[in-house]
């Protein structure tokens, strides 16, 4: 080996040396790190497939067993059944997008390459959020069309996306899909652990579902309505389904946004200040 080979071509070195690392570099780096992992492709794909498959199975089950339809049967809500399963898998993705970096130690490489931690956090957050948004919308829209096609095939009532109530639910659920996965991302930063992040984020998500029916209406109205999942559900499905735990949509939005801001804000501060 000759010593001269170690230095790069000096032209490259000088040109590169003048370039300061910017937000786009970080975003591109995070994308090429995350998108090339098979685990990413698998979890996002699995979340999508599981959502659509659940909806399909539910619609087939309904179609083959039910004969008469109560007037409050909603083909839109029915086709969105798969969201509950998709969100679990997407939350796993959100947590692991960052907890994997702590488990493997690559976070130290990331922060050595770009020590501007605030920007690194924002780039990661924006990237994971965008990927989840695309996956979420693709899932809810596919669930909707698959659900309507199957329900129609069994001669059941169907809905159209041209109906504003249907659109609000389908697109709303798609846009809302990253909500818990991003909270999972934030918990992944705070706990630096896959298990801790997933448990906490899904716990927060499922809490009202687990205890909701067991407690008094006033407790549902005054306490459970302040949990983030009920705030979210109010906005996406409160106009179709009613529950004492659902506050007014505006209140729901404020409740959900507050939870989100507090948890993500805490993760941001931890990411910027704590030892890596």
């Amino acid at each position: 080996m000759t010593t001269a080979t170690i230095s790069s071509n000096s032209k490259i070195a000088t040109r590169a040396a003048t370039r300061r690392t910017g937000f786009i570099d970080i975003l591109a780096s995070e994308w090429s790190k995350l998108a090339t992992l098979r685990a990413t492709q698998l979890t996002l794909g699995l979340g999508f497939l599981l959502s659509v498959a659940t909806t399909a199975i539910a619609c087939i089950a309904l179609g083959t067993t039910q004969d008469d339809w109560s007037p409050d049967f909603s083909p839109v809500t029915t086709s969105m059944i798969g969201v509950a399963f998709g969100v679990i898998v997407f939350t796993v993705f959100g947590v692991m997008a960052v907890s994997r970096e702590y488990a493997s130690g690559t976070i130290r490489l990331t922060l050595t390459a770009t020590p501007a931690r605030g920007r690194v956090f924002l780039a990661k957050f924006a990237l994971v959020g965008t990927m989840l948004l695309v996956a979420g919308l693709a899932s809810t829209i596919s669930m909707f069309y698959a659900g309507q096609a199957l329900l129609g095939a069994y001669g059941m009532p169907t809905a159209s996306l041209a109906d504003p109530d249907a659109a609000r639910m389908v697109l709303g659920l798609g846009v809302a899909m990253p909500f818990f996965p991003l909270i999972g991302f934030a918990f992944g930063v705070l706990f630096r652990s896959t298990a801790g992040g997933i448990t906490t984020a899904l716990g927060l998500h499922w809490l009202p579902q687990i205890f909701g029916q067991l407690v008094s209406e006033s407790f549902q109205e005054n306490v459970l309505s302040l949990l983030p999942s009920n705030g979210m559900d109010t906005m996406t499905s409160g106009h179709i389904q009613h529950s004492p735990a659902f506050p007014d949509p505006m209140v729901g939005a404020v409740v959900a946004a507050t939870w989100f801001a507090v948890i993500v804000g805490a993760a941001y501060l931890a990411f910027v200040r704590r030892d890596a």
Binding site: A16, R20, G105, R108
Partner: protein
């Protein structure tokens, strides 16, 4: 230039680094020596802005690492070679690091070539051996072609072949005039590679000196003399200022150098069969230098283990 100024680092109850100050001189290889748990890795993490000092400051070329716009062009580091996603290929791994550092993609294949990993550039890291990970880590450190490099125990756990490769490569980097900070818990590592050593124990500075100075000043430097006329020679040498001890048929002379001994012998027509200067080993020299330093005893016992 790396400067560590009165740095203390606590992790809860643990005092990892304790009022440590030193500067890494440019253009030479500085060994960073201390037993396991002495605080070497912690210090390196603080140099890279990964951990915050509890007090004191650390700067690279006069600035805090976190304030450097494109740090990979100034300093490259290998802390934990295994820090990588097993699902990435070598090229993908270096690719995202290069992108984050604002380094042109073409440089990735260049550094893979340098460390001899060009053939496995498209292979997943999951199947890499520790030696291959170390080469990959060095490749990552070289992406920005930095002037300063820091390596944390790069030969730890490697087989003799891997150790030889790393040593040669480091010597090659050093011969280009780069500044290298190289940590180890083994004193013997330093003898061949470093020009200067910084020794720490329990987070504190024990010695900061050039290798040459340590071994030259050592009291265990001596000259071995064998002569059939030793009985006549001893008083002459002692008159010339030497201290002489007999050791199985040879004289162990300290206090004067070999040429002076030869001159004394020749001046009196005394025959010599052997006249050989013996330098103290780095290890022995350090033992003297730091005699009585509690922490340093740890360095020795762990390097012996």
């Amino acid at each position: 230039m790396i400067e560590v100024n009165d740095v203390t680092k606590r992790y809860g109850e643990t005092l990892a680094v304790d009022h440590l100050s030193f500067a890494v001189k440019p253009g030479i290889v500085t060994g960073f020596l201390g037993p396991n748990g002495a605080g070497k890795t912690t210090t390196m993490r603080m140099i890279l802005g990964l951990d915050n000092p509890s007090s004191g400051t650390v700067t690279v070329n006069g600035r805090c690492y976190r304030d450097i716009g494109a740090p990979m062009h100034q300093i490259g580091a290998l802390l934990d070679a295994k820090a990588a996603n097993g699902g990435h290929t070598a090229r993908q791994h270096l690719g995202w690091i290069a992108r984050a550092g604002g380094i042109p993609a073409g440089r990735v294949d260049e550094v893979l070539e340098l460390v001899g990993l060009a053939d496995v550039a498209g292979r997943r890291l999951g199947g890499f051996s520790l030696g291959m990970y170390q080469r990959l880590g060095i490749a990552a450190a070289l992406l920005g072609d930095p002037e300063t490099l820091i390596f944390d125990e790069p030969v730890n756990g490697l087989d003799p072949e891997g150790i030889r490769w790393i040593r040669n490569f480091l010597q090659c980097l050093a011969s280009e005039g780069r500044t290298i900070l190289l940590s180890s818990h083994l004193m013997s590592e330093m003898e061949a590679t470093a020009d200067h050593v910084i020794v720490i124990g329990r987070g504190r500075l024990i010695a900061n000196t050039s290798i040459a100075a340590v071994t030259q000043q050592s009291a265990s430097n001596h000259v071995r003399v064998v002569s059939p006329r030793s009985a006549d020679l001893v008083p002459l040498l002692e008159r010339a200022g030497a201290t002489v001890n007999a050791e199985d048929g040879a004289l162990i002379v300290t206090g004067i150098e070999a040429p002076a001994i030869g001159k004394v012998a020749a001046g009196h027509g005394l025959e010599l069969h052997e006249l050989s200067p013996r330098r103290a080993s780095l290890e022995a020299a350090f033992m003297e230098l730091t005699q009585g330093s509690q922490q340093y005893q740890g360095v020795l016992s762990s390097s012996a283990a």
